[in-house]
Amino acid sequence: MLDSLLSLGGLVLLRDSVEWEGRSLLKALVKKSALCGEQVHILGCEVSEEEFREGFDSDINNRLVYHDFFRDPLNWSKTEEALPGGPLGALRAICKRTDPGPVTIALDSLSWLLLHLPCTTLCQALHAVSHQDSCPGDSSPVGKVSVLGLLHEELHGPGPVGALSSLAQTEVTLGGTKGQASAHILCRRPRQRPTDQTQWFSILPDFSLDLQEGPSVESQPCSDPHIPPVDPTTHLTFNLHLSKKEREARDSLILPFQFSSEKQQALLRPRPGQATSHIFYEPDAYDDLDQEDPDDDLDI
């Protein structure tokens, strides 16, 4: 599923942390979409262009359209190649393109954008970009847009991260154990239950994605292999389970408050012993059969 992340379109959030970095996964996905023939735009804000292009082949490098905001983020040099409107202006300019075909936009990184722009503006811009293709009946056939955003989740509080993950179609959280990286993929399709999946992977030096099975699960050594666990249900003086005959007998039992036809007949039939009923009483040594009322002695 990791390799088909971009086929769904929309915003894909890559959440990484200090232990498990996500830029290599971002570059691997960028390489995969470039090899598929899609247009790839990179908004580089956090690392320099040379560092980002490092490790890519020349044909992939030729296909990437790189917008550099690292070297001069506040546009102090005022050259003509400066893009107006900053990163958001560049995003909107990519949206307004007229040629059809799927586009992948990689944001490196969303954390940088969150720290420099108000969160609401960023959310609105991302929503506008990633939902551009979802209007039916649109005359111009605009291709599917995928936005890959790298988010360092330790830099932000729960607010912005929650807001961005509610906007995202797919959320990939990087983790792992013992040198093996894993990606927990949560896929939210609109109006359907979200699906999640964990995929173990590793990135090869040429930034291609290698999907793997999970690490071998070592069997936990028993804490005390010599003493078998005690079964408390042995050697009981009473029965915990019912045998089949006992269960049948229990099922066929008529409960006292259930009104069945036999009971109705029994009640309607005149009882034989009703006219003559006796009470048999044996007084014992402590019974007082004196008929007088003991309160008569009181003189009030």
Partner: protein
Amino acid sequence: MAAVASCGSGAGSTGSAVATASKSNVTSFQRRGPRASGTNDSGPRLVSIAGTRPSVRNGQLLVSTGLPALDQLLGGGLAIGTVLLIEEDKYNIYSPLLFKCFLAEGIVNGHTLLVASAKEDPANILQELPAPLLDDNSKKEFDEDVYNHKTPESNIKMKIAWRYQLLPKMEIGPVSSRFGHYYDASKRIPQELIEASNWHGFFLPEKISSTLKVEPCSLTPGYIKLLQFIQNIISEEGFDGSNPQKKQRNVLRIGIQNLGSPLWGDDICCAENGSNSHSLTKFLYVLRGLLRTSLSACIITMPTHLIQNKAIIARVTNLSDIVIGLESFIGSERETNPLYKDYHGLIHIRQIPRLNNLICDESDVKDLAFKLKRKLFTIERLHLPPDLSDTVSRSSKQDLAESTKRLGPGCGMMAGGKKHLDF
């Protein structure tokens, strides 16, 4: 309504007109025979708006929320002039369904709709409304479906506590065809019904330009635009009585989706102490003022699980009339809990209003769960097993006392809670 009377003389006349209309709907006495020749129509007209009925408890005019089970829980329906706030579930799967049922009910009854959203185009929202189950065949199908679902389970279970089998799962009153309909979630509403209806849409990205400057301490520009839009529609179409020549009165149903999310330009979901943290509460206050002076009812869905400052959630709850929270089991540990295996989530009714009343109209069922079957969204009573732990005798009374305290400020004291506090 008392609130209407305090809002101005013009509004007061609307309120009294509505009240007389509702009063005249309650009586069944009709004058027969020709009227006296001297008078020409001096009595009040029997104005009845399609899709509304007066409440038998407090005389308010009610509209259906689109789910008859929910109407039952809210005491008959949603009163005109009030706000129904739905706290969204975490992955926003079930709250859009309630939103769409409300709008679909408006279309079926011929009410005017106003749909506002920052996420989806209102035209797309209307295309996805569920189809109503209008004819008797589908009603029978629905009844059979419910019946078949009930009988296999009831045959197996109860041998000793058999009286509980006879209790209804959820008491749903009789659904007349004029108030409250069932909707089929798997089918779309027919296109001709949408085209025959009168609706207005507000899609935020179209209405607002991105370079608008925000003044401090005022409403977010998105909210200002929405309030102006609602006010324009209300005054143009005469929902507030400003156009007295209008023959046929109608109700305006307003639906606002995902209010408070960052797409509306509000940062309460992003930061704990944002620059305009009062924007949403001011919006709700002004909206309620607009609703109280017009024949409209509003449904709002809000992602309260994203709001960082819990005080805002409390303020928003106080500013709304009815608050319902949806909690779905997806992704939580309750998904695998066998208690909840039949259901998809819980419904919490957090607040019910007291409209012209000293007590509010709550049902005695507090544990409610919902499930979305392939076609229908049902709300049922959830039977929790008795608590058989050691501390059951000591803590049970405290738990009930706490739960009454929690529900107290919004809903009024319930008599059942007082039973357990013995001195």
